[in-house]
Symmetry: C2
Subunit: 532 residues, 2 copies
């Protein structure tokens, strides 16, 4: 292709100056066939150069977008398929429900994200309807109707498939939920909630409505006392008490906000100080918190992957984000293989020295071991092994396989599922992109831990989640923050931390500028209450 | 009411200090009946004070909002009924279709508009379904469904009714228009067009679509070569060539924009220089202008009013904006009455002196007379009368009724319908509010022209439209402007005039700041192409 372009440019130059360079033009015409033939020959030889690997990414949420942003090896050819042509900064969705931030300010077109990269990328707005893993094909259906109301179907080939389609909202099979509730997961949900809140205030202002009815219309119930539910309750309270109060003076006293939480406390995943502060603040604000009102069973349905985010039973299909769950390998399942690999002199017993040599690999492959050591406040492997051997000298410790089993028997209890959060999805996307960027390099020099069941080493280190902390905005310019190292902060200062973190995490300068200007606009003019 | 509140406050004071003022409390209790009786007596005497006049406004478009903003007599009690709880700055709708300006930036809640006024106002989000002019009642239906999918009906009383409901889009009964076309009249229309344009680009980017199909999908046809159609065509062209080109490089060459105009030229209501410039610019931009492709008959349906915007046959119902049309009185219909009123000495002939005394009233009551004089370049009434009398001395002119008819026979040909524009609606709203503000004053000292058919004078001067000029943005930061006095300007400088006029005309500082920041954002980051 490049050669042909060159030829075109070349000939165009001649066309522009044809009167001056007639002789040269003639030469070109004569040699044109040769040039074309050369171009073809090069094209043929170019196909001998390894073709670009086709990476198909399904989804443009946190995981998919984080993967796209971090992939930079030009030897891939990326095709992104998603029903949404944009990435949405979902942590700001509660702000969108009340108009503190505009929906458009938190979305960025996917094409804009990969336009600035050197990786060949294309996007198709469609849903995946079937995956044919044997033939490496994905069947897609466009979600835009054409004029005759038909949807376009098409097939995409892949060498690697990245599934990052997110998850459906879990209704826990509660009857009536789908018909009568609003969810808060997509940008459209947030916009719908915003319109519905205004509609409720308009309906309550109609002259024909009784006071009883008004109260019913203006009773907002929020299900879920996690950070999102708490943030939405707080945002709604601020919206009502700071803005709507001025425009709907007749109905403001009838508003009631109830927050329903299945467990015993709201924000139960946070430090107790935060929970207590939040519950106290909500009581003062008049937000009715009802805890322990129901208990439901969570059936997590997801695609199971290994610690490298590869879908179990496949070689080239990856799943990450909310749609995936890492099935961490249990130490006890592999205990025989671990013993065999560790016992380098095949003596039937392990010495401390033998163990120490593979300890790093074990901790990397089975992160629960490290967690266990940390939680038991053990300083090294010797402490762990000593547990099963009693009070002996460190250097003389020797274990047979049964004693090793006893030493490690409780380790697997430390295995934890990762939460379905933006932070996890984003880190997984970045991790996978880094693996893809270094695929060839790591193929030659694997950098992962020893394979205990097979020979050699894993190509990559397994995925490790690093928790960076969590925020829970409580309204009235106050936010609770819990950062790693049990650092807890509540109040106005953490609200400013929240502002700066969320501004800095935006995917583009455009959304950053928009979000910041939305905040400024809210400070100056308040929130808008038109039904737009 | 105020008395009762006073009583409550009074007794609460006692409750708070009951231990200290037991004696006084006793007195109050004893005299409580008296106090209440006094309160009732005052309430009765208060009804003797003239009650507030109830003004019911239907619609929150240009006319209704302009009326609300200008009404400031606290003796009125205003109830606004409209299916939209906001006012939209419609001249910026073409900008919204392409994301140069956000929908939210051009809307302002109606409640915000009258919150800052001293006039008692309330708003109900509903449609008017029936007017009972005899009993002065309007039947309304809320357009928000309640949970059981029922719509609330209610009745509103009025003393004065202002109808400013706007007009439906005229499809000229063309088959298929409603099903297959987008209109550009409401904010929702603009948002829908924006999403549809992006959808078309996404559909054309699907791998399974043929080139033929792609071309069909990316062919945008715009009907109507007036300022709105031209502005939208230009905005769409800019959107494609400045922004979408970067994100959809594969399909940009397939885009085609066609502008269909029934008449011989686009922008036919503007100066010929502007039409020529616009047609030439569009040709260079590759916008296909097809003129004279169809001729349709316009059946204007509207509520007929007199020159004071009062609905014909009523006394207290007014109609303004797109839903109304002023039925200007013809001079020839009133010619006998005019002759009688002018002939003060009952001589059967009019002298120039007699005529000059009522000339101002005639010109005010029948604006076509003034227009006729201006167009014929006549300097005064003498010139007009001379026409029918031939070459005589000014002072000796005398006309009988037949000669007066001859003199005025062509005057009524100058009567013009006002265009259905924001400018007209806005001026009508402001005019009517001023009349309402000075109702009582003008009842006593009428300031309008003489009533030719009856006795006395009209209370108010009739409505006169003052054309302030018109813009036609042509894309590429160029705008054509035609201002009064045949002042024509085309190019970048008038684009800046356009920016400043549209910024200054915003109804609130909030929308002004938003619109300006939207423009700045567009300059820096371009337009957004997410499907939000």
């Amino acid at each position: 292709m490049r050669n042909f372009n060159f030829f075109q440019r070349f000939s165009r130059n001649f066309r522009d100056y044809d009167s001056q360079f007639k002789l040269v033009l003639l030469c070109t015409t004569v040699s044109g066939g040769g040039l074309l033939a050369y171009g073809e020959a090069v094209a043929t030889s170019e196909t001998a150069v390894p073709e670009k690997k086709k990476v198909l990414v399904l989804g443009t949420g946190w995981a998919g977008t984080s993967f796209l942003r971090n992939l930079n090896d030009p030897r891939y050819e990326v095709h992104v398929v998603s029903p949404r042509n944009y990435f949405a900064f979902t942590p700001l969705l509660p702000s969108v429900t009340c108009g503190t931030v505009e929906a458009r300010s938190i979305v960025e077109p996917v094409r804009n994200i990969f336009r600035k990269k050197h990786v060949d990328s294309r996007f198709s707005e469609a849903e995946c309807i079937k995956i044919d893993a044997v033939n490496r094909k994905v069947y897609c259906r466009s979600n835009i109707n054409n004029n005759s109301n038909e949807k376009q179907d098409f097939v995409v080939d892949y060498d690697y498939l990245i599934i990052a389609v997110g998850a459906q909202v879990n209704t826990f099979n509660t009857p009536g939920v789908t018909e009568h509730c609003h969810f808060l997961k997509e940008v459209e949900d947030a916009q719908r909630i915003r319109r519905t809140v205004i509609d409720c205030f308009e309906r309550a202002s109609l002259p024909s409505v009784s006071d009883e009815e008004r109260k019913r219309i203006l009773h907002f119930a929020i299900v879920g006392g996690g950070p999102t539910g708490v943030e939405f309750a707080a945002a709604l309270h601020d919206f009502v008490s700071e803005d709507l109060v001025k425009l709907y003076p007749g109905v403001k006293d009838l508003v009631k906000i109830t927050l329903l939480e299945a467990g015993g406390h709201i924000l139960s995943m946070f430090d107790k100080r935060i929970t207590a502060f939040a519950e106290d603040k909500f009581r003062r604000d008049g937000i009715d918190v009802k805890t322990g009102s129901m208990v439901v069973k969570i059936n997590r349905r997801a695609i199971a992957t290994d610690e490298w985010l590869r879908v179990e039973g496949t070689n080239n299909v990856y799943a990450l984000g909310d749609c995936a769950t890492i099935n961490q390998r249990k130490v006890m399942e592999d205990i025989a293989a671990i013993f065999k690999k560790t016992d380098t002199d095949n003596s039937g017993t392990l010495t401390l020295k033998e163990f120490q040599e593979v300890m790093n690999d074990i901790c990397e492959r089975y992160p629960q071991v490290e967690l266990y050591l940390k939680n038991k406040q053990m300083h090294g492997i010797a402490d762990l092994l000593k547990e099963s051997k009693g009070d002996v000298q460190k250097e003389s410790i020797e274990l047979n396989i049964e004693e090793l089993k006893t030493a490690l028997i409780n380790v697997d209890s430390e295995m934890k599922f990762l939460p379905a959060t933006a932070q996890v999805a984003s880190q997984q996307g970045a991790y996978l992109a880094k693996c893809f960027n270094r695929m060839e390099e790591c193929e030659k020099n694997p950098e992962g831990p020893i394979r205990f069941r097979e020979e050699g080493r894993h190509r990559f280190k397994p995925f490790r989640y690093k928790h960076l902390g969590q925020f829970a905005p409580l309204g009235g310019e106050q936010t609770a923050a819990q950062l790693p190292g049990d650092w807890v902060s509540i109040g106005h200062s953490s609200q400013w931390l929240w502002y700066s973190v969320y501004a800095s995490k935006q995917v583009s300068w455009r959304t950053r500028a928009l979000v910041v200007s939305d905040w400024m606009r809210r400070f100056i003019f308040g929130r808008d209450s038109s039904q737009i």
